[in-house]
């Protein structure tokens, strides 16, 4: 029995869309996938003509598909964006080496300029050096905190207007649930925003906010896009934990659960009069922080003073 595409009614269907349950053929799948992202970009007025936009590129599936689609839409709809790839080199031998090779191939394949900034450049420490100091127990804390700021810091150096990241609908649903489970009300509204303004008024946005991971991977598969997948060598079991598994379980029962969770996060309102922590800035580097020093500066201070445990206290998240 041949299942026909519900859009063109001509070709054989090859994908069942998780968001809608529609069965679509290859060409119609490409078309709806790309057009939905274009609509997300234009509905939210993410860019202006002439913007210098850095695509955060890790060599992984999401950022590889993002680079491909951004390049394509920029040409198809004449966004007039000055696009380039921005990669962070954490300095992990064997891990980033391979993924940076992938990004370098993407640079050729998509004909986009590539800038790489390293942890050593930004912080004076590579992850390999940090692991030597702190061992394998807390290293993910360092890597995560440093990575969060690295894109912004790199973007400032490169004088960028806008950073786009490959966060997809599954990632955002995961963050919404985690913020709810942790009771982190302050972060909840921010995590569903498609575009946030960070350091030095650089905008940061997520064109894949409503794009399912399944479709990103299917798109990469059918387009034969070249991406890299591995687990970080310093955290061999770093699957994204229980919340991720829970979301995938939900999706397998009812695929719309992912979009529903995002909508719940968006609709969440805080009662008037509830006091939220005031967002300040770090005294040392100027990055957003609710304490005097931001987490990155705390961790750096510890490293530089030979007290790497500084900043990894009990309350540290």
């Amino acid at each position: 029995m041949v299942r026909l595409c519900v859009i063109c009614n001509k070709e054989r269907a090859i994908v069942k869309r998780p968001k809608t349950g529609q069965q679509v053929c290859r060409e119609c799948f490409y078309y709806v996938f790309e057009t939905e992202i274009h609509n997300t970009i234009t509905d939210n007025k993410l860019f202006k003509q002439g913007d210098k936009v850095a695509i955060a590129a890790s060599g992984g599936k999401d950022s590889t598909v993002l680079a491909y689609v951004m390049k394509l839409l920029n040409q198809r709809y004449q966004y007039g964006l000055d696009l380039f790839l921005l990669s962070i080199d954490e300095g992990i031998t064997g891990y980033r080496d391979d993924s940076l090779e992938t990004v370098k191939r993407n640079q050729q394949q998509y004909d986009l300029p590539l800038k790489i900034v390293s942890y050593s450049e930004l912080y004076g420490w590579s992850m390999d050096q940090i692991v030597k100091e702190v061992g394998l127990k807390n290293n993910c804390t360092f890597c995560g905190v440093f990575r969060r700021q690295a894109l912004d810091r790199g973007a400032v150096i490169l004088d960028v207007d806008h950073i786009v990241t490959g966060h997809n609908a599954d990632d955002i649903a995961e963050t919404v649930l985690m913020n709810i489970l942790r009771g982190d009300i302050a972060r909840l509204p921010r995590c569903t925003e498609i575009c946030t303004t960070g350091d030095g008024s650089i905008r940061r946005s997520k064109p894949f906010k409503y794009t399912y991971e399944k479709e990103i991977v299917m798109y990469a598969y059918f387009k034969k896009l070249d991406y890299f997948s591995t687990e970080c060598i310093y955290s061999p079991n770093a699957y994204r934990g229980h919340v991720r598994t829970f979301i995938k379980d939900l999706e397998s029962i009812r695929p719309s659960a992912i979009i529903d969770i995002i909508h719940s996060g968006e609709a969440f309102e805080i009662k008037e009069g509830v006091k939220l922590p005031v967002q300040g800035v770090c005294k040392r580097c100027g990055y957003m922080s609710s304490n005097e020093l931001c987490k990155a500066c705390m961790l750096l201070e510890g490293l530089n003073r030979g007290l790497p445990k500084l900043g990894i206290g009990k309350n540290f998240k």
Binding site: V15, D170, M218, S229, T245, K248
Partner: protein, 104 residues
């Protein structure tokens, strides 16, 4: 009578890490693993678990199916359009397993 059928397996997106980094493998399995019924995807997944999986089987199978987050394609079609576990394997089928769980 059970004969042997050839199946072309592909592991990617990080699933290959559970299979000694092997990305492609041609296997020969009985056309009826559970006689008298023809071999299905359900039989194949358990066969892979018992015969090929090197480590951490819970990262590949969950119950009698693949772990949620692993995509399956049968002859380049989403297995959700092909009857999933009930699909009857044919000679020279190409089955692809792709993890979506690895970093992006």
């Amino acid at each position: 009578m059970s004969s042997l059928i050839k199946v072309n397996l592909t592991f990617s997106g990080g699933v290959e890490l559970l299979f000694n980094n092997i990305k492609q493998k041609i296997i020969e399995i009985p056309s009826t693993i559970n006689p008298p019924k023809p071999t299905t995807m359900k039989d194949l997944i358990l066969w892979i678990k018992d015969n090929l999986l090197q480590e951490r089987s819970e990262l590949f199978v969950s119950g009698n199916t693949v772990r949620p987050g692993i995509l399956v394609l049968i002859n380049d079609t989403d297995w959700e359009l092909e009857g999933e576990l009930g699909y009857e394997i044919k000679d020279n089928d190409e089955i692809v397993f792709i993890s979506t769980l690895h970093g992006g």
